[in-house]
Symmetry: C2
Subunit: 203 residues, 2 copies
Amino acid sequence: MTVGTIRPGGRTARVRAAVLGAAADALVEHGFAHLDLADVASRAEVGRTTVYRRWGTAAGLVADLLTDMAEQSSPRVETGSLLEDLRANARLVQRTLADPRQGPLFRAVIVAATCDPRAAEALHRFYAVRIAEWAPCVEQAVQRAELPVGIDAEEVIRAVSAPLYYRLLISGDSVDTDAADRAAEAAVAAAKAGAYTADSDPA
Amino acid sequence: MTVGTIRPGGRTARVRAAVLGAAADALVEHGFAHLDLADVASRAEVGRTTVYRRWGTAAGLVADLLTDMAEQSSPRVETGSLLEDLRANARLVQRTLADPRQGPLFRAVIVAATCDPRAAEALHRFYAVRIAEWAPCVEQAVQRAELPVGIDAEEVIRAVSAPLYYRLLISGDSVDTDAADRAAEAAVAAAKAGAYTADSDPA
DNA sequence: GTCATAACGGTTCTCCAGTTCCATTAAGCA
DNA sequence: TGCTTAATGGAACTGGAGAACCGTTATGAC
């Protein structure tokens, strides 16, 4: 029976799924600042002790939730044009941030990342995955000669999202489809002008 | 002696200044999540009761701090070119966010804004002030015919900052001068292409 | 099926953030 | 200068988050 056997099957996995789901619900309702582990435990119909032992703190729980979220990838669309592809990406981000459930959830995990190194690491990994998933549409645009060679594909993807997150977190302006479309158009214009190439001096 | 006289002079003002300064110090060190009002009080050499009574919660204290910060405006530079102006703006934001004191402070107040409506209101007002201060350099570029008429000047300013805040809060990439320069260049390119005009359809 | 133990869960205890209460200080006005 | 009371400050009180303890469940190996 070997001492020290890990038992991830059955109950353990079920508890994890229940707790992560409950944590997401609680984050949507109360935000990270008012996340109560006892509340999460009762939502998940699980003992308080279990939550404290396995995840320790609210930040640790969010870090695990982010790891879980990173594994569920959403499919990328593929139209024939860079602007269309990036607009699809921008609108996906816009829908997510404006969604009554996903929006508060993302705000909560972003807040958690600023409070805890593990949560920060998990958040950065989450976005690294998402950005890498969409970078190919920029590389395809390079192959179609829509964009100059040597462009930083991932930076273009980040440029599409940045204005939307800025609205969500900084300026407080609404994250609507107009903003999404403008973000995509701006990124395309800047990319074509060579703003995201390594030896950038297009002025 | 008129019942209900407000007494903002002398001691009250001194207490406010001391507490706001101490709050900023505490935010820099521990972040908003671990902001302890008792700690703020002892730093300010002020009674705990006073802090709880006047500001109530950590979020309320941050909201007042932001109101105070909004009143201290930093002067805007003015070169002759749009790219130079926006680069100066981007580098100012970059220096602020990368600063060992200002960076953590801004992260903390942004976090506070996601947790409390009053803090959010104060943060949005703070940025509205800063953006309005810099918008004229875009309008001057329009007058110099560097940019098309009908452009949203404030949106251009926001576009300069957005990638830097995205790095700070989302991707975790370093907020360095390269990023600042690229942000300015991208904003100029997008603006010249008409991405920030009202009837945007430049594709 | 049987056993050892990893993992869960209820109860109790502890500690501290936040509140309440009242005494003390000093701002503002005559 | 003296009076009223706004505002501060110390001390005791309270509620709930999180830790500690130990009994219970059920997983995984044989």
